[in-house]
């Protein structure tokens, strides 16, 4: 744990990094001298402020949030179930391995295009978020199950600790770090793929829809503003997720 002085230094470095980035951006936009190619940070900020004042922005944000969270929760549910089964059985692990490897190796764009053929536009982002997140969680949970210390399981067996408490006190704490790691990666990925899916599937509301509409109207500053919204959404949900995990650990 860094000292208060160390923390201040870290904060200072981060602020300097951000300011350098903004300076570079400003210089580049002046050099380009074309707000359609690269708007200035100031123009982007103004556009973001205007976007924040429209009611449609919040509805779009809500729609994207709902899709991302639904896809994420579905991937957690499926990943947890299949991960546990794969961790318990070599046969099932080998059975699922080709599916998981194939999904992880397939370009996201190919999955989005296929989903566009198979599903209604509203469902496409949810499906893609689910499909991209689920192999990550499954792989992590399987690793977690395989990493459970067999000596602790032997102890539980000898002392006749029932199946439920064995799962809760021996298995779960062992797989929790793997599950949290996998879920965190899946959550981060889900925002990227949900927005990409929205750009291509064009549901009625969504950050991706807003981005695509702004791009068609050559409102580059607005594209930047929507991107900023997606970044904030991703960062906030990640922080909330970490807070929930921290609280759960303390409760246990």
């Amino acid at each position: 744990m860094p000292s208060p002085e160390g923390k201040r230094s870290l904060l200072l470095i981060r602020i300097l990094s951000l300011l350098s980035f903004l300076l570079l951006w400003e210089l580049a936009s002046r050099w380009m001298d074309s707000p359609i190619i690269l708007p200035s940070p100031e123009a982007t900020l103004k556009e973001t402020w205007m976007l924040l004042r429209t009611g449609g922005f919040y509805r779009s944000l809500g729609a994207t949030l709902l899709r991302g969270v639904t896809g994420f929760l579905l991937s957690v549910g499926a990943g947890l179930s299949i991960g546990i089964l794969s961790g318990k059985s070599n046969i099932l692990r080998e059975f699922f391995r080709p599916f998981l490897t194939s999904i992880q190796s397939t370009p996201v764009l190919a999955i989005i295009l296929l989903a566009l053929i198979w599903f209604p536009t509203e469902t496409v982002p949810v499906f893609v978020a689910f499909l991209m997140g689920f192999p990550i969680i499954t792989t992590n949970v399987t690793e977690g199950i395989l990493s459970v210390d067999h000596r602790l399981l032997e102890m539980a067996k000898v002392f006749r600790i029932d199946r439920w408490r064995r799962a809760l006190y021996v298995v779960l704490p062992s797989i929790l770090p793997h599950l949290v790691g996998g879920a965190s990666s899946a959550l981060g990925l889900s925002w990227r793929v949900v927005v990409a899916s929205e750009v291509l599937s064009q549901p009625l509301l969504g950050i991706g829809t807003g981005m695509q509409e702004a791009k068609l109207r050559l409102e580059t500053a607005r594209v930047f503003a929507w991107t900023l919204a997606a970044l904030v959404l991703s960062y906030s949900t990640e922080s909330i997720f970490r807070w929930v995990v921290h609280r759960l650990k303390r409760l246990a």
């Binding site: 000898v158 002392f159 408490r165």
Partner: protein, 246 residues
């Protein structure tokens, strides 16, 4: 509770650990299994605990199946759950049918017996080596077992701590005497604890010699002349059998 192994065979892959191994562990006594490292002592304990099954031969604990017997296993590495406090580690071995208040009372009482009442809310990584092993003993006692299995329970401890723990064990056992099998590769430990001592050969283990400890339990203290004499005799016996005890 009498334990009997008859012509037991057990292999790990292509390694034969036990081949037609037979032994009879007398009821209510402490039998020390003294043998070199890796000779199959822990395998014998794991078979009795029901963690392993004999591939050939029979294992009887009175007339019960191994899974019906309550075993207070004091593991070599103790095996406390690192994410639970001492209290919750101990609470896990008590049945839920006992009310929470009564469970806590029992936990406090057993911790007092092993001199660890202050450790109730500590986590395993906050315990010293000796404290950790005391909790392991307390857990086995709290489980109210039919028999105790002790796997190198004092290995790697400094002599003063080892003898302190030995006396804790003797105290617990005197409160509720049970058939006990104590595995060790330390001759002195075997003589300080065992009523009966079985000397094992290197793998595949077989009993090369058995000895009734002539020293009464209360006189079994470090430095006892008789114990030192038997220790010397046993050492000679090992050398004669070409057995290296490490």
């Amino acid at each position: 509770m009498m334990i009997e192994l008859d012509e037991v065979r057990f292999e790990y892959g292509s390694v034969t650990v036990l081949d037609r191994f037979s032994a009879r562990f007398p009821s209510m006594e402490v039998t020390a299994l003294l043998g070199p490292s890796g000779c199959g002592k822990t395998t014998i304990l794991n078979l009795i605990a029901g963690l392993l099954k004999p591939q050939e031969g029979t294992l009887r604990v009175d007339d019960k199946f191994p899974h019906e017997v309550r075993v207070g296993y004091i593991f070599q590495d103790v095996r406390l759950l690192p994410w639970l406090t001492v209290k919750r580690n101990l609470d896990l071995v008590l049945p839920r049918t006992i009310p929470a208040e009564e469970r806590l009372k029992r936990i406090r009482s057993v911790l007092r017996m092993v001199g660890m009442e202050h450790a109730l809310t500590l986590f395993p990584d906050q315990l010293s080596g000796g404290m950790y092993r005391r909790v392991g003993m307390a857990r086995a006692y709290l489980f109210e077992p039919d028999l105790y299995l002790m796997d190198e329970s004092f290995q790697g401890l400094d002599p003063p701590l080892k003898f302190q723990l030995l006396s804790v064990f003797q105290q617990l056992r005197s409160m509720s005497p049970k058939t006990t099998i104590f595995v060790t590769h330390d001759i002195e430990e075997a003589l300080l604890v065992g009523d009966e001592i079985f000397l094992l050969s290197p793998m595949p283990a077989r009993i090369v010699h058995s000895l009734r400890n002539p020293v009464p339990p209360n006189d079994r203290v470090p430095g006892n002349q008789d114990i030192a004499k038997i220790e010397g005799e046993l050492f000679t016996l090992f050398r004669r059998n070409n057995i290296i005890y490490l």
